[in-house]
Every structure is written in structure tokens, then in C-alpha cells.
């Protein structure tokens, strides 16, 4: 398994380079203009001069190489400088966003806290409630618990977050006034009261997203459990006198985890990709909002960098899933 992991990690480098090239070409080819948000009253020749100042006059392969240099060489050097106090990156151009003219990585770092607080937390909560719900639903198939679980998860999945989010705001912010409708990203948690405020402002976005995530994962858990509950080995385990608890929680769950692990691993990079709609509804302004505004503003360096980071996480977590398959079912061999 170790050789497999190392081999895959090495293979990931050309894969990621290829992905970054495809993304760059795609962004290049997509219609759009970084000047789209400049008012119509600004004359075209001024807009042209602004485009050239952004470096858009150069052919795209040159810009791609420049981006690669900035992202893979200058940014790590800058990072090392920050830790060790060296000056390797002195005078070197970092990856600069076209919208803000600020370094892209600084923005990513700035958006991390709220993304992890809201999107990350909702994912963890989603997984934590989805697994037991899935397991119980399958074990007591067609019980009341299962029926309600099915109903809630299907409604949770098929009613989009742009509706559930606004509904929660109308109920809890407008009518009841319990929770703020706008997330304060500058809020610092340093005592009990500020922690309570943080909880209050997180509660609505987290529950909307957790419902959505839990709905999806619990369905896969339930289906996979149902497949395994009728397998011969379960009967064997029962026959030889294992406790029902051990049969279900050790044997069945472990064997049912493969599709669930896949789904969970697919979802983790999406946490860092942010939750575009929910972030917008609750004004969380995390990575999802950063990406979507960058796309709308055609801020290519920003979109390229964000999607590349996203791609790294996808490749990484799919590898994690593959390794986990081997641990869950030692019969799976990759070598």
C-alpha cells in the first residue's frame, strides 16, 4: 500500500500540471472580460489600456508559464520567507488578483476561517448525523424512523439552498429576530459572549448546508447497508453468536463503507471550494464567494489559483479514498 501511495503521489504531479494547463486554456477560451464591471461610461480605449496593464496583451502560453512560475516558485518562497524571515522572494511578483491588485494567496488565507467555520463545520455535522441515520434507517428498514428520514433527506436534497436559506432568514431573522441575517466575518471569538454570537451567526448557514450534506450521505449509507445486511457473512456472524451490535457496527458497517467513503472523500474538496449559494444567501464571504466573484469579474489569476488548489485537493482526497478502500477491504489490491 505504501508503494502504491508513493507511486500515485508521484503520478499526481504530471496529472496536476496537465489539469492546470486545461483549466488555464478553458479560462482563456471562455468568453468574458475583466473590464465587464467597469461602467459603460468609461471609453473603450481606456478599457483597452487597462487590459494591457493587466498583462492581457501577451499571448496565453507566456501568461501560463508566468503563472506557473509565480505559483510554484515565488509563492512557496514567500511562504518560507514568512516563516524563516529570509528574503528569497524579495522583489518577485506574486500571483496578483486583477480585481483587487492584491496577492491571491493572502485572500485565500483571509477567507479560510469563515470557510472552515461554516462550510467545514456543516460538513462534519452532516457526516456525523448522516452515518447513524443511514445505519438505523437500513437496520430498521421501513420503520417510522426510516420513513421520516427518507422524507426529510429527499426534501432536503431536492429543495435548493437558495430557498431553504431565505426561508430560515425570513423566519428566524425577520420575524423572530433570533439570529443575524448577515454573517460578520470580522468577528473575533475571545470570550463566552463572543462565542455565543459566533454560534448564533453560524447556526442558520450550518444547518442549511448540513441538511443538504446529510441527506446525500445518509442515502448512500442506507443503501449500502441494505446490500450488506442480507449477505451470507452476516448470517454466519449471527449464527456463530456475535452480538447484534457487533454484527451491525463491526461487520456490516465496515463492509458498507466503500461507497460512503467515496462520497465523503468527494465532498471534502468541495468544503474548500466553498458553498457558493449558501455563502451568498448568508453573506458569509468564504472561498466560494471569492471564486464566484472572481469568475464574474473574469479575474483569471484568482480563478486559476483557486481552481488549481481545488484540483490538488481532489486528487489528494481521491487518493485518500483509494487508500481507505484497501484498509476497509484488504482484498482490494492495487499492485
Amino acid at each position: 500500500m505504501l508503494t502504491f501511495t508513493i507511486r500515485r503521489l508521484i503520478l499526481a504531479i504530471p496529472t496536476l500540471l496537465f489539469i492546470s494547463l486545461v483549466i488555464f486554456a478553458l479560462l482563456e477560451f471562455a468568453p468574458g472580460d475583466p473590464m465587464a464591471q467597469v461602467p459603460l461610461t468609461v471609453p473603450p480605449e481606456v478599457k483597452q489600456a487597462m487590459r494591457e496593464a493587466l498583462g492581457l496583451g501577451q499571448p496565453w502560453p507566456i501568461r501560463f508559464v508566468k503563472w506557473m512560475y509565480q505559483f510554484f516558485i515565488v509563492e512557496p518562497m514567500y511562504w518560507i520567507d514568512g516563516i524563516l524571515g529570509t528574503t528569497w522572494a524579495e522583489g518577485q511578483q506574486r500571483v496578483i488578483s486583477w480585481q483587487t491588485r492584491g496577492p491571491v494567496m493572502d485572500l485565500v488565507a483571509q477567507r479560510m476561517p469563515q470557510t472552515l467555520w461554516v462550510v467545514g463545520m456543516s460538513y462534519v455535522i452532516g457526516v456525523l448525523i448522516a452515518l447513524p441515520i443511514g445505519i438505523i434507517s437500513a437496520y430498521r428498514q421501513y420503520s417510522w424512523f426510516d420513513q421520516i428520514g427518507t422524507f426529510v433527506s429527499m426534501v432536503g436534497f431536492s429543495v435548493p439552498t437558495f430557498f431553504t436559506g431565505v426561508l430560515l432568514i425570513v423566519i428566524f431573522s425577520v420575524n423572530l429576530g433570533w439570529f443575524p441575517s448577515i454573517y460578520d466575518t470580522t468577528h473575533v471569538v475571545n470570550d463566552w459572549d463572543s462565542f455565543l454570537f459566533q454560534v448564533r451567526q453560524m447556526i442558520m448557514p450550518v444547518s442549511v448546508l448540513a441538511l443538504y450534506n446529510a441527506a446525500q450521505i445518509s442515502r448512500f449509507m442506507r443503501a449500502s447497508m441494505l446490500d450488506n445486511l442480507n449477505q451470507d457473512y452476516v448470517r454466519t456472524a449471527r449464527a456463530k453468536g456475535l452480538s447484534e451490535r457487533a454484527v451491525v457496527l463491526v461487520h456490516v458497517v465496515r463492509n458498507s463503507m466503500i461507497p460512503v467513503v467515496t462520497v465523503i472523500a468527494l465532498g471534502v474538496p468541495q468544503v474548500f471550494g466553498g458553498a457558493i449559494i449558501t455563502e451568498q444567501v448568508f453573506k458569509v464571504n468564504g472561498l466560494g464567494q471569492l471564486l464566484i466573484t472572481a469568475i464574474h469579474a473574469n479575474d483569471l489569476p484568482m480563478v486559476q489559483t483557486l481552481t488549481f488548489i481545488f484540483a490538488v485537493l481532489i486528487v489528494l482526497f481521491n487518493l485518500v479514498a483509494d487508500v481507505l478502500y484497501g484498509l476497509l477491504d484488504p482484498r482490494i489490491r492495487y499492485d
Partner: protein
């Protein structure tokens, strides 16, 4: 301990300060929400409305416009004119006298060197300054002493008030930006995010595309202002959420551009926490009629003057399209008090507004039908669509994605159906539609459709550049990389002659007469169909006083005068 002291202090301040005599910072926190989040505090590098308005809290121009569209001195003693000797007789120079004693927020004095530097900064080669148009034809800015700046133009300027005037052209500090000239402009992140200014507030924390925290400027020229100690300038979300946070939940004091249907606004205003105000500038929602053929089979020559449109070149058709529209209803459905009807593409200022086309205010389906009948457009094959010589009156109608515009599209489609014109609707994401990417077929300049709808206006109060948009050589075409503002590809020698004449005319009455004539010509040719004269809207809380929004400058221009109503 510290907190209680601060609270005691605040309480004492509240008790001591009667509403009439405010003290700097006595009104606590001001919360503003812009659903398009500002990305940078330097308007010279962005040009986006959101960024200009955020920056207006910090940096200021020499003079601004007031609600009536007249200039008012801001950082200067008075407005220079030919009469008071501030503008030279030959109209090639203007002398600004700076107010004495103005300080930057870092405590250093504000001088004419900063004014000169601002011009140098924006016109530096390779800087990509968004406001170079403001400094067009400026050849020099002389600084005979610390408080005098003389702007020299290369040609006579009947209207010399473009450089350093209005929210788009504020003065920036030389000491802060002098190493940021030209290609180095984007590298000065710190300066671009936290500019030193003369305005009422100073940035304490700038988070691009998210939130800006500001505090009162200790060195602001009026010791009693601003009334607010801190400002939170939040961005993100959408117009609905922004309006809700002010009108329904009361979490914010001021929301920018809550562009929503009037019934939705009315419902939210009923909560009694705030109100929506509108101010009318020059923004007109209009339909542009394509006089060239957008047929994809024409390839490279698609939508160029080489191929006239099969039926929109017939004036009767264009006129019928305009007559079929019920403008008062459009206003009622889409804008409410944020809009009013107009029959002109140049609706304001008052001297320029023509009244020759007002017949369009009444919908006339019957008249439109009659006109088409007379022009020979009849439904000969019984499919409900008029035709002539095998050409069907069938249109592709494009616009940007926006709830109000889609409602308008549906309504107009219905009315055009009543006069036997078939319409296919298309809506395009605004970032593509308004982007100038020559590779995209869906930009508003290319107009690969028969008609399109959007809104446009002009800067300030002078329509010369705006009216020049419809000169022949302004037509977007492959040779200009599809840039240009003459979307209908209208071309008339007579019109071009008037454009040239206006550029030479200094007398305001003659200019007004010319502008009106040009407007009337466009209107009576029906190449532009005006729909709604739109105002700029904002929502503010009932506890926020001093808001005096007008269309000629940034909405936040007088934030120093805003206060909390107690």
C-alpha cells in the same frame, strides 16, 4: 475595566451632547451594505462603481457636484470660472485655490504637489488608469505655490471641470503613491487598500470583496465631524438581502442599489424600519435596434454595415415596435418610484431634455398595426406573424440576466405579438454581456441579435461625449475589435456634422439646442427606443440622518454629515 471605562465614556458623551451639537465619533457605528463588494480602495485602478463609492469615504476630489448638478467647492476655496478669473479667457487653463489647513489623515499637509502627482499617477505609461478620460488633453499641472494648482489643457475646454472633480477623480497622496507609478501600480497593495485621504474616515482593515472597517479621521478638517466613530462597509449577497437587512431586520443603516420590483420594496418598507430613496440622473433603460443583419451565415461580416437588416431598416417597423410599448406599465411593474417614463435617450439635465417625442408615452397598438399595414407588412400566410416578400417579422431580443429585465422582455414580447411581430428572448450573464471580449458572440457591442435592452448614462452633466456615441465611426465592427458605443450602427452625415459642431461650441444654450436636435433625430428615426428613465436607488434606516443622495456624485459623498437620529 477598559470596556467599562469606554462604556462610561460613551454614556457620558450621549448624555452631554444634545442632538443639535454633535461631536466627532459620538454616534457609534455606521453600517453600510453594498451587495457588490468593493475590491480595492483606489478608483484609478478599478473604475467599478462599488470601489469608487467605498473610496469616497476616504479620498476626496477638489470639487463635487451638488444635488442640482452644480459644482460646489470641496477642497478648494471656490469654483474657478471665466468671470472670477479662475479659468483663462482662451479656456486652456484653470486655476484651483486649495483651502488652507487641510491635512491628510497621517497629519501631513495637503498641498498642490499632491494634486499634480495625482495627474502624473493616472497618466503614467502602463498604469492602466481607469480615469484617464478625466485627464484627457491635460498637458501640465503647475504648482506655483503650495495652495495653487493650475491645470493646463492642450485645446480650449468649454467645460474644464473634469480633472480632479467628482468621485471618480479624487486626489491621492504623493508621499504614499510616489513609488507606485505606471506598471508598478498594482504592486502597491498596502496603498491601494489603505489609502491616506482627506476624507472623514480612515481604513483600519480592508478585506477585499468582503468587508471594510473604517474609523473617524482624527485630522478631518471639521472638528465636529464625522458623527460616527466607526464604519463597517460590508459587501456580498444580493440586492434582496441588502434591502432586507436595512428595511426588515434593521441590522444595517444603508444599502446600495436595492434594485427590486416595487411591490417587493413596498412590502419591506411596511416593516417601518427604513425607506428607499431615488435620485434621477441620466440613466435610461433603452432598446437598441440593430440596423445590420446579425444572420450567422454571414460569418465575419455578420452585424456589420455591409449587410443591412432585412426588415429593421424599414423605419415603419421600428416605429411600430416603439408605439406598441406601454411605458407607464413598464415603470409600474419594474421600477415604481425608482423610475419614470421617458421618450428621450437624453432625459436630463433639464436644459437638454426634449419634449418633441412625448407621443410615445401612450401605447398605440392600433396605430402600430395601421402603420405596418400601410408599409405593406401583412400576415399573408396566416401564422399570426406579419411578412413581406418572404421576410417574416421575427426578432431575437437579448439582454442581460436580471429579474426586472426578464419581466420587461416578457411584456414587450406580448405587445409585439399584438402587432404581429414574433420575438425570441435570450438573456445573457452580465459579466459576458457587458464584457468586451471580442471572442464572445454575446457581448452587447457585437449585438448578434435584432434588438437588445440595457441601460446607459453619462458622467456628470455634460452630454457631449454621450451624444457622440452615435456617430458613424463609433459603430462596433471587426476593425475596431468590436469596440464602440453605436450599437444600432446608426450612420447619418447630418448627425456626424452636429457632433463635430458641438465639440466646437462653448455657449451653453447652443449646446443644449444641438443636443436636443441630436436626441430628436435618434428618437424620430426609432433606432433607439427609450423605455424607462431610471433613478439611482438606495435604502437607508429611519435612524440614519443626513443622507442626501443625488445622481451626480458618489452616494457616500457626504458621509461626514451623516448622523444617528435619536
Amino acid at each position: 475595566m477598559k470596556l467599562t471605562t469606554a462604556l462610561m465614556g460613551a454614556a457620558a458623551a450621549l448624555a452631554l451632547a444634545p442632538a443639535a451639537f454633535a461631536e466627532r465619533g459620538s454616534d457609534g457605528e455606521l453600517k453600510i451594505i453594498y451587495w457588490q463588494a468593493p475590491s480595492i480602495m483606489n478608483p484609478y485602478l478599478s473604475g467599478g462603481t462599488k470601489d469608487i463609492e467605498a473610496a469616497a469615504l476616504v479620498i476626496e476630489p477638489l470639487a463635487r457636484y451638488d444635488a442640482a448638478g452644480n459644482l460646489t467647492p470641496w477642497l478648494v476655496e471656490d469654483i474657478p470660472t471665466v468671470e472670477n478669473g479662475g479659468v483663462s479667457e482662451d479656456l486652456t487653463s484653470i486655476t484651483w485655490k486649495l483651502k488652507d489647513g487641510i491635512k491628510w489623515s497621517d497629519g501631513t499637509p495637503f498641498t498642490s504637489a499632491d494634486v499634480r502627482f495625482t495627474w502624473e499617477y493616472c497618466t503614467a505609461e502602463g498604469g492602466g488608469c481607469a480615469q484617464t478620460e478625466k485627464y484627457k488633453d491635460v498637458v501640465d499641472v503647475e504648482t506655483p505655490d503650495e495652495l495653487t494648482a493650475i491645470v493646463k489643457f492642450s485645446t480650449p475646454k468649454p467645460f474644464p471641470y473634469r480633472p480632479f472633480v467628482g468621485g471618480e477623480a479624487p486626489v491621492i497622496q504623493k508621499a504614499q503613491f510616489q513609488d507606485c507609478m505606471g506598471p508598478k501600480a498594482p504592486e502597491c497593495t498596502e496603498a491601494n487598500f489603505n489609502p491616506v485621504g482627506t476624507g472623514p474616515f480612515v481604513v483600519t482593515d480592508f478585506r477585499p470583496n468582503d468587508v471594510i472597517s473604517l474609523k473617524a479621521n482624527d485630522n478631518y478638517r471639521d472638528p465636529a465631524k464625522p458623527a460616527f466613530a466607526t464604519v463597517t462597509f460590508k459587501g456580498g449577497g444580493d440586492a434582496m438581502a441588502a434591502a432586507r437587512s436595512v428595511l426588515e431586520t434593521g441590522e444595517f443603516d444603508y444599502a446600495w442599489n436595492p434594485q427590486l420590483a416595487p411591490d417587493v420594496i413596498a412590502e419591506m418598507e411596511a416593516a417601518g424600519k427604513g425607506q428607499v430613496v431615488a435620485a434621477f440622473g441620466t440613466l435610461v433603460e433603452r432598446i437598441m435596434v440593430n440596423l445590420t443583419d446579425p444572420n450567422p451565415e454571414l460569418g465575419e461580416e455578420r452585424a456589420t454595415a455591409k449587410h443591412p437588416h432585412p426588415f429593421l431598416t424599414d423605419k415603419a417597423v421600428r416605429q411600430a415596435l416603439s408605439m406598441a410599448i406601454d411605458r407607464p406599465l413598464l415603470v409600474e411593474i419594474g421600477y415604481g418610484k425608482a423610475g419614470t417614463t421617458t421618450c428621450n435617450v437624453l432625459p436630463a439635465p433639464e436644459v437638454y431634455a426634449s419634449s418633441a417625442n412625448d407621443s410615445c408615452l401612450v401605447q398605440d397598438i392600433e396605430g402600430a398595426n395601421k402603420l405596418l399595414d400601410e408599409a405593406g407588412w401583412v400576415d399573408s400566410d396566416g401564422d399570426g406573424i406579419r411578412d413581406k416578400d418572404g421576410v417574416q417579422l421575427s426578432l431575437l431580443f437579448q439582454t442581460s440576466t436580471n429579474a426586472v429585465r426578464q419581466d420587461f422582455q416578457a411584456l414587450i414580447k406580448e405587445w409585439w405579438k399584438m402587432i404581429g411581430v414574433e420575438t425570441e428572448l435570450r438573456n445573457i450573464d452580465a459579466s459576458v454581456f457587458f464584457g468586451g471580449d471580442p471572442g464572445s458572440p454575446d457581448t452587447y457591442q457585437k449585438l448578434f441579435a435584432d434588438v437588445e435592452m440595457y441601460a446607459n448614462n453619462f458622467d456628470g452633466t455634460d452630454p457631449e461625449a454621450y451624444m457622440a456615441n452615435w456617430a458613424c465611426d463609433e459603430a462596433p465592427r471587426p476593425e475596431t475589435q468590436w469596440q464602440g458605443n453605436n450599437m444600432p450602427r446608426f450612420c447619418s452625415e447630418e448627425y456626424d456634422a452636429m457632433v463635430a459642431e458641438m465639440a466646437k461650441t462653448g455657449d451653453i444654450n447652443k449646446r443644449a439646442e444641438l443636443a436636443k436636435k441630436m436626441n430628436d433625430m435618434l428618437m424620430q428615426e426609432y433606432v433607439i427606443i427609450p423605455l424607462v428613465y431610471r433613478g439611482r436607488v438606495s435604502a437607508h434606516s429611519n435612524t440614519l440622518g443626513g443622507v442626501n443622495m443625488h445622481p451626480w456624485d458618489s452616494e457616500t459623498y457626504n458621509a461626514a454629515d451623516w448622523y444617528r437620529i435619536k
